[in-house]
Subunit: 200 residues, 2 copies
C-alpha cells in the first residue's frame, strides 16, 4: 500500500459532497487510504482570484443544473440548500477536533455534515447544528460545541487551509496523491487510473 490520497473539501461545496459519497469506493478501488481534509475554500478563492460558482453568470446556472443531475446520476439525495454558500467554520473545526483523536469518526462526521446540508437542508454554519450532528453519530455534543469555539481548532483549521493552498489546492474537491493534484469530482476516475498505473 502506497501513500494516502489526500481529499480536500469544503462543507459548502456540492462537488465536495459528490466526491465524499464516492471516496470510500476510491479507497477500495485503489487500495490507498483516503485522508479526509476539511478546508475553507473561500480562503483558496482569495488566493486564486475565483468566486463561488453561483455568483458567476452562465456558469452559475450551469452549476445549479449540474448539481441536480449529479445527485440523480450518483443516486444520492441532493437539494440546493436555502442558504448557499455558507461559511463552514463550525463543522470544519469540529471535524479537525475529531480527526485528531479518531480519523474514522471524523470521516463519519464529515459524511453526516454533508448529508445534513445537501440532503436535509440544515444550516450547518450554526455551531449548535454542527454540534448536534456530532451527537447524532455518537459524539458528546457539549464537548464538540466547546471545541468549535476553542482557539486551538480555529488555528488548526486555518493552518490546514494554508498548508493546502501552499500545496496548490484551489477548489473543492481536490485530490493529492504522490505529489500529483487533481481538481474536481470529475477527476476521481483519473486519480484511480493514475494510482493504478503509477502515473502517465
Amino acid at each position: 500500500m502506497g501513500s494516502t490520497i489526500a481529499f480536500y473539501f469544503d462543507f459548502s461545496s456540492p462537488y465536495g459532497y459528490f466526491a465524499a459519497v464516492q471516496a470510500d469506493e476510491l479507497e477500495r478501488r485503489t487500495g490507498r487510504a483516503v485522508e479526509w481534509k476539511a478546508i475553507m475554500v473561500g480562503s483558496a478563492f482569495k488566493a486564486s482570484g475565483n468566486k463561488p460558482l453561483v455568483d458567476q453568470p452562465l456558469k452559475g446556472a450551469y452549476s445549479r443544473h449540474d448539481w441536480e443531475r449529479m445527485g440523480r446520476l450518483l443516486q444520492v439525495p441532493y437539494r440546493l440548500p436555502d442558504r448557499f454558500p455558507i461559511p463552514t467554520l463550525a463543522p470544519s473545526r469540529a471535524f479537525w477536533w475529531l480527526a485528531d483523536g479518531d480519523p474514522v469518526q471524523a470521516k463519519a462526521y464529515a459524511k453526516a455534515v454533508y448529508h445534513a446540508y445537501f440532503a436535509d437542508g440544515r444550516d450547518i454554519s450554526d455551531p449548535g447544528v454542527a454540534a448536534e450532528i456530532g451527537r447524532e453519530i455518537g459524539v458528546d455534543a457539549d464537548v464538540l460545541a466547546l471545541a468549535i469555539q476553542d482557539e486551538t481548532w480555529k488555528q488548526r483549521l486555518r493552518a490546514e487551509t494554508e498548508t493546502a493552498i501552499a500545496a496548490g489546492v484551489f477548489g473543492s474537491p481536490y485530490f493529492l496523491v504522490d505529489g500529483e493534484g487533481f481538481w474536481g469530482a470529475d477527476r476521481m476516475a483519473m486519480v484511480e487510473d493514475w494510482v493504478k498505473r503509477g502515473g502517465w
Copy 2:
C-alpha cells in the same frame, strides 16, 4: 439516430484540443453525429466574467501541468505554444467558410489547426498560417485567405459565438445534446452515458 451532439470549441483551448482528438470516438460510441462548432471563447468569458486559465493564480499552474499529462494520457502530441492564448479569428472564420460547404472537410481542417498549434507550435492566429493549413489538407489556400478577410465570415463567426452564448455555452469544450449542456473534456464520458441512457 437522434439529434446531433454539438461540440463547441475555441482553437486556442488545450481542453478543446483534447476533446477534438476524442470526438470521433464519442460519435462512434453514441451513434450520434458530432457537429463541430468553432467559437470565440473570449466573448463567452466576457459574458461569464471568466479569465483565461493561465492568468489565474494556482489554477494557472495546475492547468499547465494538467495539459501536459492529458497529452500523455491521450497519447497525443502536446506542447504549450510560445504564444498562448491567442485570438483565433483567422482559423475560426476559415472553419465556418469550409463548414458551410463541406462539414467533413471543416472537421479535417479543425483537427489540422489544433495539431498545428498544440503539436507543432505554429502561430494559427496568423491569417497566412491559417490559410496554409487549409492548403495542407487540399483546400485552395488563396480562396481560404480571401474568406478569412471577408465580412460574411467575420459576421458568421460572431453570430455562431453569440448563438452559443445564448444557449449557455461559457467555455471550451462544451457539448450540447438534446438540450443538455456538458462543459469540459472531462465530461465526454457523461455525454456518452447521458445519450445511451436518455438522461438521468
